[in-house]
Symmetry: C2
Amino acid sequence: MPSPAPDASAPADSTPARLVRAAHEVVCEVGLAGTSARAIAQRAGVNQALIFYHFGTVSELLEAASDAAITASIDHYRAAFDGADSLDELVAVARSLQARERTIGNVTYMAQMLSGAQSDPVLARAARSAIVTWSTEVRRVLDRILGNGPLAGLVDPRGLAHLVSAGFIGIELYDIADPDGAAAAVDTLESIGRLVDVLDDLGPVARRALKARTDRSTRTKLRQRTVTR
Amino acid sequence: MPSPAPDASAPADSTPARLVRAAHEVVCEVGLAGTSARAIAQRAGVNQALIFYHFGTVSELLEAASDAAITASIDHYRAAFDGADSLDELVAVARSLQARERTIGNVTYMAQMLSGAQSDPVLARAARSAIVTWSTEVRRVLDRILGNGPLAGLVDPRGLAHLVSAGFIGIELYDIADPDGAAAAVDTLESIGRLVDVLDDLGPVARRALKARTDRSTRTKLRQRTVTR
DNA sequence: GTCTATAAGATGATAGAC
DNA sequence: GTCTATCATCTTATAGAC
């Protein structure tokens, strides 16, 4: 590694920065299968050998591009996240976020990293880092919004954060092959968010009723499960 | 390692059948990036040239393997699907299905097809076919279970089917990089299913209240959105 | 149908001139 | 830091013997 680490803080027109940008574009447009050192270099308008000079391997360049995209996105949306005060508003933010990320291609990029993780440990590391960063952020917001609503005790915020993230990934992959189906999925997610929001807005009496009911149901299911085993 | 049991309507030990099985295994183990004609042929114990003789291209072999896996899985689970009478039971079936599909690798396989769809039209066709087949099946079950519950009018079954399918894909991809996070997501999905089940089990009075409340909320949000625009 | 051999090209990565 | 040129290897796919 003859060069300094993936410096995203470098001049916007430096060769490393150009390569990072080009790598992101190529992966989003043709997927991991269509990505190569030559394709990225050509897009960046530089020589192919510079990838290895600056990043060591192609995978490490892809990792740097992943890190840069994640931090840029989170910085961009942190304000909107912090401004959301209800689940419904959060879903609205999520929708706008998804629309933006889609045009930028970040979710696609992450999906490609995840699929490449199966055969490339460097991409696996990039994907894991992206997951941790995103779900930590999502969880932070969910913790605040669900805070002391009736759902707080019923749903695990950490699991929900992962579920939401995984849902985004899945929907984006879905969108590659079936845009209409993906759109329908997003619409449904939005209507569910609205529904849950109503639920979260119930008065204390209804809350207690719901909680009692859920607990009873849970116990029943568990008993049934134990018996049938 | 259990076989995917992709019965390609040919003798189970014919070369095409062996290739289909081998293709499935290789993609699941090393991902699309690590998959090649040679890798598949070696796994099948036959010569590489036979892939092109029997299937034309590697992509078409992968497509055949996808189709075989999907139909085999759906056949295997149709009975369990039809036996589920509540959302909670459906989630239980889904969980057992996911456990099985994970060891077999079908969801992983589909995720890889989806990610490859971005640069390969044949894989895109395979992925699209898989999506249509699965979401049609899921929708059929959801239509029956949500039937005339209070959620029937509030959530679009088609969108929900796609959302569930996309969720599975996302979770499986997630699992490659972060197994703990994926497990937490599945747990949360299960608890949500239980919660919704309770909701779906409410009496008519509560139903009307919920519906009125949801409608009101929807109108409000729409008005807010119109105003702010 | 199955094999060997090989074509024709793309790939990651390196050496060395400037 | 950036380039040209190149290597060794891998890829899909085909030709032709059996």
